[in-house]
């Protein structure tokens, strides 16, 4: 049995089933993210592990112990909240010491442990400060130290970076990961931010409507999405309307230009379909493996630092194409005619049913990005 084992969890609020027969295994020392849009059940799942909600069906085991019916204060799980939830009446030291005092640690040991935790979060000199005298990032560090001080069997983080601004978010994200690695603590991290999930985790579980659509390493999730929803939720995705020319040979037509798909086509689904291509799968110069190409007019050039994103209009559809930035790169001007090269394998056809799904996911993703 894995260190944390969720088996067939169901949670119903009123007549809304928020989590549907969800199973999840987390190995000891693993960092796993639950990723999904709002209302996908990720936070509810985390809160059931923490004990703040109780599953209507299924079991939860932590370190071999069935925690069903166990109150949150008996589970010994460290929890970090989106809005820090530091005790405003206590200074940083007393916040961190809170759990230790309850556990009945003596004064010397508590002091030693608090010093150690302040060291871990790099805030040794902040002990006497009160929460309102700290920045958001500092408050969240203290919350992390407070949760870790009790030496919990696992760490649960509920959107810990959502309330912070972008720069601090990036730094704290790296800090959380390096502290987690150093302590080797099993961690479950809830987020709606796909970039955050991919960059921080050993494994990512993409959730939607109360089920896990796919679980895997960030590499697997990004490069081999198992469902259309995952492929659209993770990363930027171009969706192009296409027509089947020859299903058996995988020949398609996009805006009057013929291309080949490396993935099988379903001839029974009719001649209309959509294909997806990731922006980084396009190349401005092609070689033999990128045998497909599409021509279009440059509608926009976005300079994103390490990446240059061209928006190319192909038959009325705006398509994003990314190139790595390099001093030698010649960036096309607006209105230039360019050819985007890509390999047949990079072009994934979508069944019509999945297309509606995909559109929903893209909209959801866009909404989450705006919110974040």
């Amino acid at each position: 049995m894995a260190f944390i084992e969720l088996d067939g969890i169901v949670k119903v609020f009123g007549n809304n089933t928020v989590v549907k027969h969800l199973s999840l295994s987390v190995e000891k020392g693993e960092f796993i993210s639950l990723l999904g849009g709002s209302g996908c059940g990720k936070t509810t799942t985390l809160r059931m592990i923490a004990g703040f909600e109780h599953p209507d069906e299924g079991s939860i085991h932590v370190a071999g112990r069935n925690v069903a019916g166990l109150a949150p204060n008996k589970r010994k799980l460290g929890m970090v909240f989106q809005n820090y939830a530091l005790f405003p009446n206590m200074n940083v030291r007393r916040n961190i010491a809170f759990g230790l005092k309850i556990a009945g640690k003596d004064k010397a040991e508590t002091e030693r442990r608090v010093d150690e935790m302040l060291e871990v979060i790099g805030m040794a000199e902040f002990g006497p400060r009160y929460p309102h005298q700290l920045s958001g990032g500092q408050q969240q560090r203290v919350a992390l130290a407070r949760a870790l001080a009790i030496e919990p069997s696992a760490l649960l983080l509920d959107e810990p970076l959502s309330a912070l601004d972008a720069k601090i978010r990036l730094r704290l994200r790296d800090d959380i990961r390096s502290i987690q690695r150093r302590l080797g603590i099993t961690t479950i991290y809830v987020t709606h931010d796909q970039e955050e999930a991919l960059s921080i985790s050993d494994k990512v579980a993409v959730m939607r409507e109360g089920v896990i659509e796919q679980i895997g390493t960030p590499f697997e999730i990004y490069n081999h999405p198992a469902t259309p929803y995952v492929s659209s939720f993770i990363g930027t995705l171009n969706v192009l309307p296409a027509k089947i020319v020859d299903a058996a040979a995988g020949i398609l037509e996009i805006a009057g230009q013929v291309i080949k798909s490396g993935k099988p086509l379903d001839p029974t689904a009719g001649s209309d379909l959509a294909v997806t291509v990731r922006p980084e799968a396009f190349f401005l110069q092609g070689d033999a493996s990128e045998s497909n190409s599409l021509s279009g007019k440059v509608a926009n050039v976005k300079f994103l630092g390490s990446v240059v994103r061209l928006v190319v209009n192909i038959g009325g559809v705006d398509v994003s194409a990314d190139s790595f930035n390099a001093p030698r790169l010649t960036i096309p001007a607006l209105g230039d005619e360019v050819k985007l090269h890509f390999s047949p394998d990079a072009c994934v056809p979508l069944p019509v049913k999945a297309k509606a799904d995909m559109v929903a996911a893209l909209e959801e993703g866009a909404a989450e990005t705006r919110k974040g």
Binding site: A50, F52, P72, Y84, A85, F87, H132
Partner: protein, 262 residues
């Protein structure tokens, strides 16, 4: 723009005069106990009257009991409502309006009628008076505590405390109550101020309280009631000043609530 500020100062001045003039008149009147000179002789009479001390002491006792029992009853209720049954909040808020809508005289007769025969006979006990006072003070206590709870992230704090192993008792005494300090202080002083001067309940339930004493004085004497009125004003304002003073202390110590800064 200047004209506008000038106008608002004028209104402010009119308001102040409207409020302070009668007070000043009462004060001056209270100083006229001795013919021809201004003196504090009326105040001397008040303090020398054994009835004054006795009734004031009784009312203070009742007020303290009301504060203690009221807080014990209402604070956990408010916390419970916030955490567990937030849907009941509008209902409780409606209840807090009842003491304003139902005249105290009705409340008093209701209490007498209900508790003067078995199974519960309480009319001869001052506890019935305290029970009545708790009802009268309920809106003030509940609203103060409610505002205090709204100002803190009660759910977040309680979940954080629980995940750190805290029991409900620890949560209440180490986290919730310290952060409710300001709210509890204002609830306490408001209750004290209201109960000490309360007339109707004390009169009808026939207890030798400060309110009825003041009313009696007002009927029989001239200068002493004015002195009493000034004294009770001073008491109320003293209470409010104390709230300010003590809560400022709390802020300086860093117990500022709901501070989320980046």
């Amino acid at each position: 723009m200047r004209k506008k500020t000038g106008l608002s100062w004028l209104w402010f001045a009119i308001g102040m005069v409207y409020f302070f003039l009668p007070l000043l008149a009462t004060f001056l009147f209270s100083l006229r106990g001795k013919k021809g000179v201004l003196s504090f002789v009326a105040y001397e009479h008040v303090f020398k009257d054994p009835q004054f001390l006795r009734t004031f002491g009784f009312s203070l006792e009742m007020a303290i009991l009301t504060v203690i029992l009221g807080l014990v009853l209402i604070v956990p209720t408010a916390i419970w409502v916030h955490l567990k049954v937030p849907k009941a909040k509008p209902f409780i808020e409606l209840l807090t309006l009842l003491p304003f809508v139902i005249p105290p005289i009705i409340l008093a007769f209701g209490l007498i009628k209900t508790f003067s025969r078995p199974p519960i006979v309480l009319v001869s006990s001052p506890l019935l008076l305290v029970a009545g006072y708790i009802i009268v003070a309920f809106p003030y206590i509940y609203r103060s505590v409610d505002a205090g709870l709204m100002a803190m992230d009660l759910r977040g704090l309680s979940e954080a405390a629980q995940s750190l192993g805290s029991s409900w008792i620890t949560l209440l005494f180490k986290v919730v109550l310290p952060n409710l300090r300001t709210a509890l202080l204002s609830a306490t002083f408001l209750t004290l101020a209201i109960v000490i001067g309360e007339l109707t309940l004390a009169l009808i339930l026939a207890w030798p309280a400060f309110g009825p004493y003041m009313a009696l004085m007002g009927r029989n004497l001239a200068y002493e009631p004015a002195a009493l009125a000034i004294l009770s004003f001073a008491l109320t304002w003293g209470s409010i000043g104390l709230i300010q003073l003590l809560t400022r202390g709390a802020r300086d110590k860093g117990a500022k609530l709901g501070a989320v800064t980046h």
